[in-house]
Amino acid sequence: MATRPGRRAAIVAGLRTPFVKSGTSFRGLTALDLGRIAVSELVQRCELPPKEIEQIVFGVVIPIVQWPNIAREVGLAAGLPKTIEAHSVARACATSLQALTTAADAIALGEVDVAIVGGAEAMSDVPITYSRPVAQAVVAAAKGKTLVEKLKAFREISPRDLLPVPPAIAEYSTGMSMGESAEKMAKENGISREAQDAWAHRSHTRAARAWEDGTFRKEVMRVLVPPRFEEVVVEDNVVRKDSRLEAYANLKPVFDKKYGSVTAGNSSPLTDGSAALVVMAEEKARALGMKPLGFLKEYAYAAVDPAWQLLQAPAFAVPKVLRRAGMRVPDIDVFEIHEAFAAQVLSNLQAWGSKKFAEEHLGGGEPIGEPPEEKINPSGGSVALGHPFGATGARLVHQALRQMSARGLGTALVSICAAGGLGGACILTRE
């Protein structure tokens, strides 16, 4: 079997906040707050001496101007030693997978021994910017010496320019929103409304069961919400505990009202939350006496034309990671697949199983094959748990590792589709 060069990266601990619908319990918090909360609790819980930490790799998808390097601010805000170096990464919805693989590479090369990785997203706290004309006028006015000069800069501003510009969840290159792209994929791949609703129902049912049977107890911390510390958030609040398949059929399509099939029910919601992992060199874990949850065996990224099927890159990244690891689909015990939309998961699975897709896009040969349904997202996915962009990658990795240790399994595969037509996948092993 192929192995990655260099030292093996062991993931020894992980933690996430509950994921809550944006505008609810965490509406007063920023991504930095959420990142700090998860990281400080994680370090406390795993009893890792903070002085051992050498690097923080962290990310957020919606950039915040006040702290462009969130990784550094998280380290400082969490009260960790100020001497830990830190840098931020961005790969849309695969951001915290990127944080993990970046740190794993540094570990492989011997650059660092111990790193904290993760990501956060506060969709309740998105930056609202002003239009370019206003921004340019403000910059020009700041350079003016007299009041008249300062005011002159605003002469060209029209009332319309004064409207704030909220960020759009749309592709910059194509102008198409995520939802429109999912809608396009549903139509082009023939994914029915019924199949999407059934997948969403499955996701909610499994997530609800996992919450009930205590599966998430070790994965999710409780958050005492600052600054008043009056509310304690214990669980994800997106999960429907009484999910009924019939209820999904009543929802109206959001992105194509007339012919569409993508609804709020079969899509992941805008979510606030954060997740983090402790990753270190295998030898270091042994030296510190820490038992790894598992190891990062292999990873791969891929990209597709965003104007084609925006969320179909996992159809390329997953065959790539399997090839690199010298493994096949039947070798994998658990698949954690990010569910941006049920239509996207079903499209990814369809492509994995399709001979035609393998011929047209992967240079021929056998398709990797669709995994058996029961191996996929055993505790639900992003449709039910929520999807704070920056945190999802770390959530998936941790959830896969916990799933393996709870059931005594050996191998897991994580697959993530991301904006920009990007996709990432990694294989985790446990000994």
Partner: protein, 367 residues
């Protein structure tokens, strides 16, 4: 027996799907000898009690029906022969329309529906087009010195109004799906992958009476539009119509300066159809079509059309073994008008080209 052009399937729920696929050709064009086959197929559909409605579509990947076969028109020598051809086309369309009254027919359009292709769609009960860029609808006949010859001058004004129909017929321009929807030329615009699915559903709904096509030309949202109201006001009474036709003719003569007879003939056919009824209109259309097919102006425009098409395929060398090389990158010297044109064409073909650089006195920056 020769390979079939039309195929009829009955995939269930009473909706038959007719697909046109001219064997061995990259695009569908209409030829006189298809009439017999289509008629036979429509009779079968009419008599089959299992079929209550139909979808008419193309078997080609990226085109509906591109128009009549121009080479067929070239072989015609007399005016009578051409008029007869038009009558034949008109009758075929009328039969399609008649059948549609008993068993609704939905035209499912993806790609070019031009000339005769649009006339086929117009004879259907309901039209659905894809939102794809390749979907174009129009009556480009005047560009070949001809006029629509299978009822286009009659059905188009009745469907979208005289002013809008004249705009299409007299200029020969084609419109994309969204514009066609605004004009009322198509009833629905859908994403490509679900074209047939929606067409089948609408066919079944039309048959059951659950759906009635909306044929009112002025919608609530258009009431505020002064131009729409003016056009409708003119069209709704005889005096207004006369003014409309007079204005159209005047504008036309200014452009053609009397050198191109086709637009004028088209205008006459439309006017006669509106004033004296559809039968008179169809006769006028067929006669004028006949005159034009054998006219010098049309013959020459068709020659130019063939020459341009041939030129596009010309390799520029006589030796047929010489094949164009694959180009992936273009180096540009010179940035005048021609240089800019070459750069633009390279970009259109996704060839990487170096930024054009002005050289010498004659090169001016591209504009």
């Amino acid at each position: 027996m020769a390979a079939k052009t039309f195929r009829l399937e009955t995939p269930g729920e009473g909706v038959g799907v007719v697909s046109m696929d001219v064997p061995g050709e990259p695009v569908n064009t209409l030829r006189a000898d298809f009439a017999g086959e289509l008629e036979e197929l429509l009779r079968r559909a009419a008599e089959d009690p299992a079929i209550t409605s139909l979808v008419l579509t193309s078997g080609k990947a990226d085109g509906f029906i591109a128009g009549a076969d121009v080479q067929m028109l070239q072989r015609i020598t007399t005016r009578e022969e051409a008029t007869e051809l038009a009558r034949g086309g008109q009758q075929a369309m009328s039969r399609l329309e008649e059948l549609g009254k008993r068993k609704p027919i939905v035209a499912a359009i993806h790609g070019a529906a031009l000339g005769g292709g649009l006339e086929v769609a117009l004879a259907c009960t309901y039209r659905i087009a894809t939102d794809d860029r390749r979907t174009q609808l129009g009556q480009p006949e005047v560009q070949l010195g001809l006029i629509p010859g299978a009822g286009g001058t009659q059905r188009l004004p009745r469907l979208i109004g005289i002013a809008e129909a004249l705009d299409l017929i007299l200029t020969g321009k084609s419109v994309r799906a969204s514009k066609a929807r605004r004009l009322g030329l198509v009833d629905e615009v859908v994403p490509r992958p679900i074209l047939l699915q929606v067409a089948r559903r609408r066919a079944a709904e039309l048959a059951s009476g659950a759906l009635r096509p909306d044929r009112s030309r002025v919608h609530l949202r258009q009431i505020a539009d002064r131009e729409v109201l003016q056009a409708v006001a003119l069209e709704e009474n005889p005096i207004g119509r006369r003014i409309l036709f007079q204005q159209a003719r005047k504008a036309l003569l200014k452009k053609t300066r009397g050198h191109y007879p086709a637009p004028e003939k088209a205008l006459e056919a439309v006017r006669i159809g509106i004033e004296d009824g559809i039968e008179a209109g169809l006769r006028a259309e067929a006669e004028r079509f006949g005159e034009l097919v054998v006219s010098d102006v049309s013959r020459n425009l068709v020659q130019i059309f063939f020459a341009t098409t041939a030129l596009k395929k010309d390799t520029g060398v006589d030796d047929p073994s010489v094949k164009p090389a694959r180009v992936s990158k273009v180096g540009m010297v010179g940035a005048g008008l021609m240089g800019a044109g070459i750069a633009a064409e390279s970009a259109r073909r996704s060839w990487r080209s170096s930024p054009p650089r002005p050289t010498g006195r004659d090169s001016r920056p591209a504009t």
